[in-house]
C-alpha cells in the first residue's frame, strides 16, 4: 500500500501537529526573549499625573479606528475586521476546533452551529480576497509588500479555504482535504513566530509600549 490520505491524516494529527506546536512554542518563546532582552531605558521624565491613557487602555482601544480613518481606507478596516473576527469565530467556536484546543490546553466551551460557522467562513474568505486585492491595488500597500506579506496571506487563507472545502466535500476526498487542512494549520503554526503573523502576540506588547508612552505624556492613544 502506498501512502494514503489516511496516512497523511495520521501524520498530520500526530507527529506533524506535535512538531508544528513545538516549533511555534519554541519560536514564540524565543521571540519574546529576543524582544524583551533589548530592554527599555528608565524614563527619568516625570509622567503626568491623572493621565487619561495607559498601556492597558491602548491594548484595547487600538482595535477601534479613530474618527475619519475608516473612510480613508475602508477595505483595510472593514476587510480587516471581517477576516480577523471571522478567523477568531471559526477558530474558537467551530466544535471540532474546540475539541482540538481542548486536547492542547484542556479547556472547552460551547460552539456555534455549523450553519453559522459556514456563513462566517464565507465572509472571512471574501474579506481575505478583498484585502489581497487591495494589497495589489493600493500603491502604499503594494510598495510595502514583499514575499513575506503574500506568504503570510497565503498561509492564512489556506487553512480557511481547505477547511471550507473539506467541510463541503469539495474538490478532494474529505480525508485528504482534512489532512491538507490540518497540515496547512501546522504550516501556519510553524510560520507564526518567524513572519509578520507574530503580530498576534507582539501587538499586545507594541500597543502596551505605545499606550504607556502616550499615557505618560497625558494622551489617551
Amino acid at each position: 500500500m502506498n501512502a494514503t490520505a489516511m496516512d497523511l491524516l495520521i501524520w498530520a494529527r500526530g507527529t506533524g501537529f506535535s512538531l508544528a506546536l513545538a516549533i511555534a512554542l519554541f519560536g514564540l518563546t524565543l521571540r519574546v526573549f529576543e524582544i524583551l532582552s533589548l530592554g527599555r531605558k528608565h524614563d527619568f521624565a516625570p509622567a503626568r499625573e491623572d493621565s487619561p491613557g495607559s498601556g492597558l487602555r491602548t491594548v484595547f482601544s487600538r482595535s477601534l479606528p479613530l474618527p475619519g480613518m475608516a473612510q480613508k481606507s475602508p477595505i483595510t478596516y472593514f476587510g480587516g475586521y471581517v477576516f480577523h473576527v471571522g478567523l477568531l469565530l471559526v477558530i474558537v467556536f467551530f466544535v471540532p476546533h474546540i475539541e482540538a484546543i481542548r486536547a492542547v490546553i484542556g479547556l472547552s466551551w460551547p460552539g456555534l452551529p455549523t450553519a453559522v460557522i459556514d456563513m462566517v467562513s464565507v465572509a472571512t474568505l471574501l474579506a481575505l480576497v478583498a484585502v489581497l486585492f487591495d494589497r495589489r491595488r493600493n500603491k502604499v500597500k503594494r510598495m510595502l509588500s514583499g514575499f513575506g506579506d503574500y506568504f503570510a496571506w497565503g498561509i492564512t487563507f489556506l487553512p480557511m479555504v481547505t477547511g471550507y472545502l473539506a467541510f463541503h466535500h469539495l474538490v478532494l476526498d474529505y480525508t485528504l482535504m482534512l489532512a491538507i487542512h490540518i497540515l496547512s494549520v501546522e504550516l501556519l503554526l510553524i510560520a507564526l513566530p518567524f513572519t509578520k503573523l507574530t503580530h498576534v502576540v507582539t501587538l499586545f506588547l507594541a500597543r502596551w509600549y505605545n499606550g504607556d508612552w502616550f499615557g505618560r505624556r497625558g494622551i489617551a492613544s
Partner: protein
C-alpha cells in the same frame, strides 16, 4: 565599512530597545500610517509611508537582535545596511517627517513610528547623513548658543525694548525665583512681543521669574538632528542654570520641540530627574488662571481657530489648556475637524523648517493644514509654537491666503485686566 557607517551602525545598535523590537515584529504592512501622514496624503508618493522611512533601522534590528535575522545574514539573504542606503533614506528620515506622531496614533498594532524615526536619526546623524540645514543649526547652537546665531547681547537689546515699552523690569539671573523663562531664537528674532507679553503677565500675576544669561535658548538642534550627545550638551546648559539659580519651574517657551527637549528628553539625556519642574508656558498660564492670578477682560468676537503644535499637544499632553485660555479672550472659537491629539501638523516640525532641502515638500504638505483652516472659514489662526507660526505664515503666504497668525500668550497679554493690577505693579 566606512568610519561614518560604523559610527552610524553602532548608534543604531545602541538605540534598539524592546519597544522597537515589538513594533517591527508587529507591523503587518497595512499602510494605514500613510493615511495619517500629510507628506504622503499631499504628495501621493508611497515612499513617504511612515513605516517605510524606518527601513535602515528595521534591518539593523532584524540582523542584530533576532536569531532569524542573524541566520539570514549568515547565508547572505539579509539586505545589508550600507552608506548608500543611509544616504538614500536621509530625505525620508528628515525631509518627510516632522516627528508629529500622527502615524503613532493610528497604527492598529500600536507602533510608535515617530519614536522610531527619532531613534533612527541617531544613526543617520552619527553617520553624517543629516541634512545640511540641520547640521548648520546644530553647529551654531553648540558654538554660538542658538541655532539662529542669536547671542546674549541680542537678547539684552530686546530686554531693553521690552522694559521701555512696558515700563517693567525684566529680571535676569535672579536666584530663588518661581520661574526660569526660556525662549526660542525665533521668538527673540521674529516675535519680540512674546517676551513683552510674558513680562506683563508675570507682573500682573505677581510671579517671580528670571531669564538666565547663559541659558536663554530653549531650542535644541541635537534633538531634531538626532544626536543625543549634542542634545545633552545643549540641555545641560539649561539644567545647570536652573539648578544654579535654584528656580522652582523652568518654563518652556511657545516652541514645540523645545518643550520635548527639556520636559521629556531632558531628564533622560541627563540620566537623572531634575531638581525643578518643567512646564510649557501654556501650562503655567493655565495654572495662574486657575489660582486666580491671571485675569482678562473683554472678549474678542472675531472668529478664531487654534492650531495644536504636535509636540505640545499629541506628543506633550497640553491639549485642554490652550482651549481654556482661548475661551478667556475669544468668544467665537471654531475647532478644526481634527484637532487636539489628532491635529494635522503644519509640516515644519522635527527640524523640517530648518532643512532647506525639504522646503518644496514642506509647502506641499502644508496643503493639508490649508484645507483644515479653510474648512473652519476663519481668518485668525492662534497657535502656541514659534516654529509652527513661522511655518504657517510661510505656507499661508505661499498659498496666497489672507490669514492672521497669533501667538496665544500674546493674545492673553493683550486682554489682561488692567483693573486688577497687583499691588506692587508699576504704571501700565
Amino acid at each position: 565599512m566606512s568610519a561614518n557607517l560604523q559610527r552610524g551602525y553602532n548608534a543604531l545598535k545602541e538605540v534598539l530597545d524592546a519597544p522597537i523590537a515589538s513594533y517591527f515584529s508587529s507591523c503587518v504592512h497595512c499602510g494605514l500610517c500613510a493615511e495619517a501622514c500629510m507628506f504622503y496624503t499631499e504628495s501621493g508618493n508611497p515612499k513617504y509611508t511612515p513605516i517605510h522611512k524606518l527601513e535602515p533601522l528595521r534591518r539593523v534590528w532584524f540582523q542584530e537582535a533576532t536569531l532569524a535575522g542573524k541566520l539570514m545574514r549568515l547565508v547572505g539573504l539579509a539586505k545589508p545596511v550600507t552608506d548608500e542606503l543611509l544616504a538614500e533614506w536621509s530625505p525620508l528620515v528628515y525631509d518627510s517627517c516632522s516627528l508629529c506622531g500622527r502615524c503613532s496614533m493610528v497604527c492598529p498594532v500600536g507602533n510608535d513610528i515617530a519614536y522610531m524615526v527619532r531613534k533612527l536619526r541617531e544613526g543617520m546623524a552619527a553617520s553624517g547623513n543629516a541634512p545640511e540645514g540641520l547640521v548648520g543649526a546644530s553647529k551654531r547652537t553648540v558654538a554660538i548658543g542658538s541655532p539662529m546665531g542669536v547671542k546674549w547681547p541680542a537678547v539684552q537689546a530686546q530686554i531693553r525694548h521690552v522694559q521701555k515699552d512696558t515700563g517693567l523690569t525684566v529680571p535676569v539671573d535672579q536666584a530663588g525665583v518661581e520661574y526660569l523663562v526660556l525662549m526660542s531664537s525665533m521668538e527673540i528674532m521674529n516675535y519680540p512681543e512674546y517676551l513683552a507679553a510674558l513680562t506683563r503677565i508675570f507682573h500682573k500675576a505677581g510671579a517671580s521669574w528670571t531669564l538666565a544669561s547663559d541659558a536663554f535658548e530653549a531650542t535644541n538642534s541635537g534633538i531634531q538632528i538626532g544626536a543625543s550627545d549634542i542634545a545633552r550638551e545643549i540641555v545641560m546648559r539649561i539644567v545647570n542654570a536652573a539648578e544654579r539659580l535654584q528656580v522652582g519651574t523652568v518654563v518652556s517657551p511657545e516652541c514645540g520641540h523645545a518643550f520635548t527637549a527639556i520636559r521629556w528628553e531632558g531628564p533622560n539625556l541627563a540620566g537623572r530627574t531634575f531638581g525643578f519642574k518643567v512646564k510649557h508656558i501654556l501650562e503655567v498660564l493655565d495654572e495662574l488662571r486657575r489660582s486666580g492670578r491671571l485675569r482678562t477682560k473683554g472678549n474678542k468676537s472675531i472668529p478664531m481657530t487654534y492650531h495644536d503644535p504636535c509636540q505640545i499637544a499629541r506628543r506633550g499632553g497640553v491639549v485642554d489648556q490652550p482651549r481654556t485660555l482661548l475661551q478667556m479672550v475669544a468668544s467665537d472659537v471654531k475647532e478644526m475637524d481634527e484637532h487636539g491629539a489628532m491635529n494635522w501638523c503644519c509640516g515644519g516640525g522635527g527640524g523640517v523648517s530648518a532643512n532647506e532641502r525639504a522646503e518644496p515638500l514642506k509647502l506641499k504638505a502644508f496643503a493639508r493644514k490649508k484645507a483644515q483652516i479653510e474648512q473652519t472659514g476663519v481668518k485668525t489662526l492662534v497657535t502656541a509654537c514659534a516654529n509652527c507660526r513661522i511655518t504657517l505664515e510661510e505656507g499661508l503666504e505661499h498659498y496666497g491666503m489672507n490669514i492672521t497668525v497669533l501667538g496665544l500668550t500674546e493674545l492673553i497679554a493683550e486682554s489682561l485686566d488692567d483693573e486688577t493690577t497687583s499691588a506692587d505693579g508699576g504704571a501700565a
